[in-house]
C-alpha cells in the first residue's frame, strides 16, 4: 500500500510522520470499506428493486432491533479504537523529549524568525541536525499564525498572547517547507520558510559560521543586558537577597506560592506574564507595585530575559 501512501501524503520526514501515517492509512482503508459497502448496497438495491423489475418483494420489516444494535455498536467499537490511536499520537506530539534542542520561533506578518540558543537569528530559514529532537517555542508579534510542516505532519498555532510549542525529530537529511496555516492577511500564502535537515557536523559548522556573522549576542547575554538596562536589578537580585521583589535566583521551573494561596510553576508563560502583566499573579509576601513592561520590550528581548532568568540557578 506504500504507493497509495505516496500518492496521498508527502514523503515521511520525521519520527512523528512514521507514527501518524499508519493511522492515516488505516482510516483510508476503513472509510474506503464503508463507502464501498454503502455505495454497493445502494447500487444493488436500485438495480434489483427498480420500479417494474420482476422480483419477489414480499413485506420487508420496518425495523429490526438486532440489526440496528449491530450497526450502532460495530461503528462505536471502531471509533473508540480510532479515538485512542489518535490520542496516543497527539500526546507524543505534545511532549518534547527532555534533551531537545530549543529554537525560538517568532511569527510576524509575513515572515518567520528563528533564534538559536547562541544568539544566531535567521529569517525564513532553519537548519537543524538530523536525528535530534528539536523543540520550538513560538510566539507571534501580531495576529495568529500557524507553523505547519507537511513533511513532518506537525502543526501548531502561533499566538500573540502566549508561547506555544512544537517538537520534531527529522529522520533523514533533506529540505522541508514550512507553511503558515492560519490565515493572516494579504501575504498569508507567502509566509513560507525552509527547514534544512543536515548532519550534526554540518549543523555545527553552520552554527559557528552563522554565529560569527550574526547580529547581536547570545540570547542569555542579551538577557543580562536587558536586565541591567531596564532596571530589573533595582528590585530583583540574582543572589537570593530579598529586595522590593522576589530574587530571580533559582526561580525558573520551581513552584511559586501566590498571595491568593495558589501555587504555580514559574515556567516561560508565568515569567512572560509577570513581565508584561505583573499584577496578574502576585507572589505571596510582596506588594503589587511592579510596572508593566508591555510595549517596552520586544519579543526578542523578553525571550532573552527569560533565557537569562533560566540561567540563574
Amino acid at each position: 500500500m506504500s504507493w497509495l501512501r505516496d500518492l496521498l501524503v508527502p514523503p515521511q520526514g520525521s519520527t512523528f510522520a512514521h507514527e501518524v501515517d499508519p493511522l492515516f492509512m488505516f482510516l483510508v482503508g476503513l472509510t474506503g470499506f464503508f463507502f464501498l459497502l454503502i455505495a454497493g448496497l445502494t447500487g444493488w438495491f436500485i438495480l434489483r428493486y427498480r420500479r417494474g423489475s420482476r422480483v419477489r418483494r414480499g413485506v420487508a420489516p420496518t425495523h429490526n432491533t438486532a440489526l440496528e444494535l449491530l450497526w450502532s455498536l460495530i461503528p462505536l467499537a471502531l471509533v473508540v479504537v480510532i479515538f485512542f490511536w489518535g490520542v496516543q499520537g497527539y500526546i507524543s506530539a505534545a511532549v518534547p523529549p527532555a534533551d531537545a534542542l530549543e529554537i525560538k520561533v517568532i511569527g510576524k506578518r509575513w515572515l518567520w524568525e528563528f533564534q538559536y540558543p547562541n544568539g544566531l537569528r535567521t529569517v525564513n530559514e532553519m537548519r537543524v541536525p538530523v536525528n535530534k529532537p528539536i523543540k520550538l517555542v513560538m510566539i507571534s508579534e501580531d495576529v495568529i499564525h500557524s507553523f505547519y510542516v507537511p513533511g513532518f505532519r506537525i502543526k501548531q498555532d502561533v499566538l500573540p498572547s502566549r508561547y506555544t510549542q512544537l517538537w520534531f525529530e527529522a529522520t533523514q537529511p533533506g529540505v522541508h517547507s514550512v507553511l503558515c496555516a492560519e490565515y493572516c492577511g494579504r501575504s498569508h500564502s507567502d509566509m513560507l520558510a525552509t527547514i534544512h535537515v543536515v548532519s550534526q557536523e554540518e549543523y555545527q559548522q553552520w552554527l559557528e559560521a552563522g554565529g560569527a556573522v550574526g547580529e547581536g549576542l547570545p540570547l542569555s547575554e542579551l538577557g543580562r543586558l536587558v536586565y541591567e538596562r531596564y532596571g530589573c536589578d533595582a528590585c530583583h537580585s540574582l543572589d537570593g537577597t530579598r529586595l522590593e521583589g522576589p530574587s530571580l535566583r533559582g526561580v525558573f521551573g520551581k513552584p511559586v506560592l501566590l498571595a491568593d494561596g495558589q501555587r504555580v510553576i514559574a515556567d516561560e508563560n508565568y515569567l512572560r506574564e509577570s513581565i508584561l502583566n505583573p499584577q496578574a499573579k502576585i507572589v505571596a509576601g510582596y506588594q503589587p507595585v511592579m510596572p508593566t513592561f508591555q510595549g517596552l520590550l520586544s519579543e526578542r528581548e523578553i525571550n532573552a530575559l527569560i533565557e537569562f532568568i533560566k540561567e540563574q540557578k
Binding site: E68, F83, G86, Y90, P150, Q156, S187
Partner: protein
C-alpha cells in the same frame, strides 16, 4: 388545479410584501436564498479561476481574500442556514402537520424582513471596502484589519435574530398545531429534523450574537476582550465562535437529512426503516453537537485533555449519523424504486454525504488532524457535507415539492442530464481537494507551490461542469413556470398531508381539517401482480 390558490387568490406587490401566509413567505425566502446562492456561486467560480495557476491569474491577493470571505459568509449565513428551514420548511411544515399556518405568522414575516435587512448589510460591505477576515472572523486579525468588518458583524447579528425567530416559530408550531390524531410518532421525519434544528437555532444562535457584538465593541470602543494588545485572549474568540458555529453545522445538515427521510420512502414505496431510530438520532445529534466545538481547535494551543474529550465526543456524533445512513439504505430493500429527480438527488446525497461523513473520521482523530487541520482536506470535507449533503438534499426537496409549490411539473429528461453533470462536476472539484489537503496544501492560499497545480486544474475544470449542471437546473425549473399549471395534487404518491391538498394549495391549505389515523409512510400494500413487478411505470 382549478380555482384560487395561494399564488392567485391575491395579486400585486403589496399582497406579497405584507403577506402572513407561510407559503408566500416560504416562496419569498426561496427566491432570496437562491439569489444569495447565485452570488456565492459566482464568487466560488472566481476563486476557482484564480487558483488555476500558482500565482496571479485574474485578481490581486486582497481581492482574492475578500472573495473567499464573502463566498463563505454568503453561503453560510445567507444560503445554507435559511435555505431548507426558512424556504422549504416554511412552505411545507404547516402542510405536513395539517395546520393552516405557522404558530406566529407575524413573527414569520418579521424573520423574513430581518433576513433581507441582514443580507443587504452584508452585501453593502462589498461596496464599503469589503471584508477580508474569512467567514470565521478570527481575532486579533479581525480586530486589526480595516474594511467593513463592523457592518458585517452587525449583519450577522441581525441574521441571527432572523434565524431565532424561525426556530421559535417552528417549535411552537410543532407542539401546538398538529392535526387531530397526529401524535409525535405520526409526524413525518422532516418535521423531526426541522424541530431538532429549531432547538439548536434558539439555543446556539444567541452565543453567536454575543460573540459578534463583543467583537464590535472591541473594534469600535477598544474594549479589550479578544485582542492581547488590549489585554484580551484571541483564543477565547475561537471558543465563543465555535460554540455557535459547530452546532450551526447541524443547523445546516439536519434539515437536509430530514428531506432525505421523506424522499427515500416515497420513491421506494416502503415505510422508512427504523422511524424511531432516525427521529431520535436527530435529537441525539442536536444534543451532542453542543459539546464538540473544541475539535476546531486541536492545534490552537488548548490543553491535551480538552482536545481528547472533544475528540471523543466528536466520534460519538458519528454514530447517529451512521445509523441514519444505514436506515436510508435499508429502506430501499425490497422497495419499488422510482428514479425520478427527487430520488436521484436523494441517492446522490447518500453517496456524497457518506464521503463527507467518513472523512470526518480523519479530522476527528487527534494525531491525523494535526496534519490535516486548515488544509484543503478540511475544505473538501465540509463541502462534501455542506454542498454534497445539504445542498444536494435541498435540490432533492426542491424537485420533490416544486409541483406542490408552483403547480408545475419540470422536464424529467433535463433534470437527469443536469443531475449527471452536477455529480461529475462536484466530485471532480472536491475529490481533488482531499488529495491536495493531505499532501499539505493549506486553505485560504492565494499563491501556492507549483507541485499542487495539476490538482487545482482538475478542481477548477470540475467547477465548470458543476456550474453548467446548476445553470441547466435553473433553466428547466424556471421554464416550467411559464407553462400552464399541470401538476396533480399528488404526483409522487406520497402519504403525508401536503399531498392531500391541491397543487398549489389554497391559501388556507386544507378544505377541511385533516384527521390523521396512520403513520406518514404507511403505503397501501402492492397488489399481487405489482408485488412481483413493482408499480406500473
Amino acid at each position: 388545479m382549478t380555482g384560487a390558490n395561494y399564488l392567485t387568490e391575491q395579486r400585486g406587490l403589496r399582497s406579497w410584501l405584507f403577506t402572513l401566509d407561510h407559503k408566500r413567505i416560504g416562496v419569498m425566502y426561496l427566491w432570496s436564498t437562491l439569489l444569495a446562492f447565485f452570488l456565492g456561486g459566482v464568487l466560488a467560480m472566481l476563486i476557482r479561476l484564480e487558483l488555476l495557476t500558482p500565482t496571479r491569474t485574474l485578481m490581486d491577493a486582497d481581492t482574492y481574500n475578500k472573495a473567499f470571505t464573502l463566498h463563505g459568509a454568503i453561503m453560510i449565513f445567507l444560503f445554507i442556514i435559511p435555505s431548507i428551514p426558512a424556504a422549504l420548511g416554511n412552505f411545507v411544515l404547516p402542510l405536513l402537520l395539517g395546520a393552516r399556518d405557522v404558530a406566529f405568522p407575524r413573527l414569520n414575516l418579521a424573520s423574513y424582513y430581518l433576513y433581507v435587512a441582514g443580507a443587504l448589510m452584508a452585501l453593502a460591505s462589498m461596496i464599503t471596502g469589503g471584508i477580508d477576515t474569512g467567514w470565521t472572523f478570527y481575532t486579533p486579525y479581525s480586530t486589526s484589519t480595516g474594511g467593513a468588518v463592523n457592518l458585517v458583524t452587525l449583519a450577522v447579528f441581525v441574521l441571527g435574530f432572523s434565524s431565532i425567530f424561525t426556530g421559535v416559530n417552528f417549535i411552537a408550531t410543532t407542539h401546538k398545531l398538529r392535526a387531530p390524531g397526529m401524535n409525535w410518532f405520526r409526524m413525518p421525519l422532516f418535521v423531526w429534523g426541522i424541530y431538532a434544528t429549531a432547538i439548536i437555532q434558539i439555543l446556539a444562535t444567541p452565543v453567536l450574537g454575543i460573540t459578534v457584538l463583543l467583537l464590535f465593541l472591541e473594534r469600535v470602543f477598544g474594549v479589550g476582550i479578544f485582542d492581547p494588545k488590549l489585554g484580551g485572549d484571541p483564543v477565547l474568540f475561537q471558543h465563543f465562535f465555535w460554540f455557535y458555529s459547530h452546532p450551526a453545522v447541524y443547523i445546516m445538515i439536519l434539515p437536509g437529512m430530514a428531506i432525505i427521510s421523506e424522499v427515500i420512502p416515497v420513491f421506494s414505496r416502503r415505510p422508512i426503516f427504523g422511524y424511531r431510530a432516525i427521529a431520535f438520532s436527530s435529537v441525539a445529534i442536536a444534543a451532542v453537537s453542543f459539546l464538540v466545538w473544541g475539535h476546531h481547535m486541536y492545534v490552537s494551543g488548548q490543553s491535551v485533555l480538552a482536545s481528547a474529550l472533544f475528540s471523543f465526543l466528536t466520534f460519538l456524533v458519528a454514530i447517529p449519523s451512521a445509523v441514519k445512513v444505514f436506515n436510508w439504505v435499508a429502506t430501499m430493500y425490497k422497495g419499488s424504486i422510482w428514479l425520478q429527480a427527487p430520488m436521484i438527488y436523494a441517492i446522490m446525497f447518500l453517496l456524497l454525504f457518506a464521503i463527507g461523513g467518513l472523512t470526518g473520521l480523519f479530522l476527528g482523530s487527534l494525531a491525523v488532524d494535526v496534519h490535516l487541520h486548515d488544509t484543503y482536506f478540511v475544505v473538501a470535507h465540509f463541502h462534501y457535507v455542506m454542498m454534497g449533503g445539504t445542498f444536494i438534499a435541498f435540490l432533492a426537496g426542491l424537485h420533490y415539492w416544486w409541483p406542490k409549490m408552483f403547480g408545475r411539473m419540470y422536464s424529467e429528461r433535463w433534470s437527469r442530464i443536469a443531475a449527471a453533470l452536477v455529480f461529475v462536476g462536484f466530485n471532480a472539484t472536491f475529490l481533488a481537494q482531499f488529495v491536495m489537503g493531505s499532501r499539505g496544501m493549506p486553505r485560504r492560499y492565494y499563491n501556492y507551490l507549483p507541485e499542487f497545480q495539476a490538482l487545482h486544474v482538475v478542481s477548477t475544470v470540475g467547477s465548470w461542469i458543476l456550474a453548467l449542471g446548476l445553470l441547466i437546473t435553473a433553466g428547466y425549473l424556471l421554464a416550467s413556470l411559464r407553462k400552464r399549471p399541470d401538476a396533480p395534487a399528488n404526483p409522487w404518491g406520497g402519504m403525508t398531508l401536503e399531498w392531500q391538498t391541491s397543487s398549489p394549495p389554497p391559501t388556507h391549505n386544507f378544505a377541511a381539517v385533516p384527521v390523521v389515523d396512520r403513520g406518514p409512510y404507511d403505503f397501501p400494500p402492492l397488489e399481487a401482480e405489482e408485488e412481483l413487478a413493482g408499480r406500473p411505470a
